[in-house]
Symmetry: C2
């Protein structure tokens, strides 16, 4: 095997195990590899998975924008890929990543910052960075 | 507020924050509350969320069977609800649970037991329980 073949073989092994949905997508959970914190869930298509393996940084498929979403391309808040796992049915992917800065567009570390407390949803984490600092707005 | 009203108010607060998809479902990540291990991802509809809050044990919507799936009803491998969180867009739910036994129907603790190693998917966790012991088969 040559170096040129290594990456396609690698992505082929993973892609063969994934059961994409009717839209060609699979949900991908991003978890901080050392703390175990669940950072976010996004969607990947075949191309996003290939790109993630090739670059070593998480790349998703943006359903709202209809294009590849290289996480952190604008904000700098990239996710270095540490490990990638598939569930028993092949219809969910788990990315263990090393998150630079924050995962959430609100400036919070994790997107899961609202929790049910009594009869109300409460915000349990504050932004670590202002969204304006992430996206260059005033 | 009376005790009778408490649970509907509680689920109403959560349900109001959730953006269900066209099929009336939302993906739900189950994470072991203390170890941080991601156990599985399943789907919930409004009724599954109400049932989960009412019973204190995770209840999902089985897409394959087209009915509520009270996790562990057959196998005994229940998930006690510890906390429930919603992401920034309201389209993913995170359940922090206390998993009895194993989450995966293969008898493994987590459904994410296959990881990409080099050019192959490798099994990184063995069953802790035989599936036959979970589902009463021979």
């Amino acid at each position: 095997m040559t170096t040129d073949n290594a990456m396609p073989l690698r992505s082929a092994a993973l892609l063969a195990a994934i059961a994409f949905n009717d839209e060609g997508l699979v949900p991908a959970i991003a978890q901080q590899h050392d703390s175990g914190e669940v950072l976010m869930l996004a969607w990947m298509n075949r191309e996003a998975i290939e790109e993630t393996l090739a670059s070593g940084a998480a790349c998703y498929w943006s359903r709202s924008r209809g294009r590849l979403w290289r996480k952190g391309e604008t904000s700098g808040q990239t996710q270095r890929l540490v490990d990638i796992r598939v569930d028993c049915d092949g219809d969910v992917v788990l990315l263990l990543v090393d998150q630079t800065g924050v995962a959430c567009h609100t400036g919070r570390r994790s997107c899961f910052f609202r929790a049910l407390r009594g009869n109300a949803l409460e915000t349990i984490a504050e932004p670590l960075v202002a969204p304006s600092a992430l996206y260059g707005e005033d």
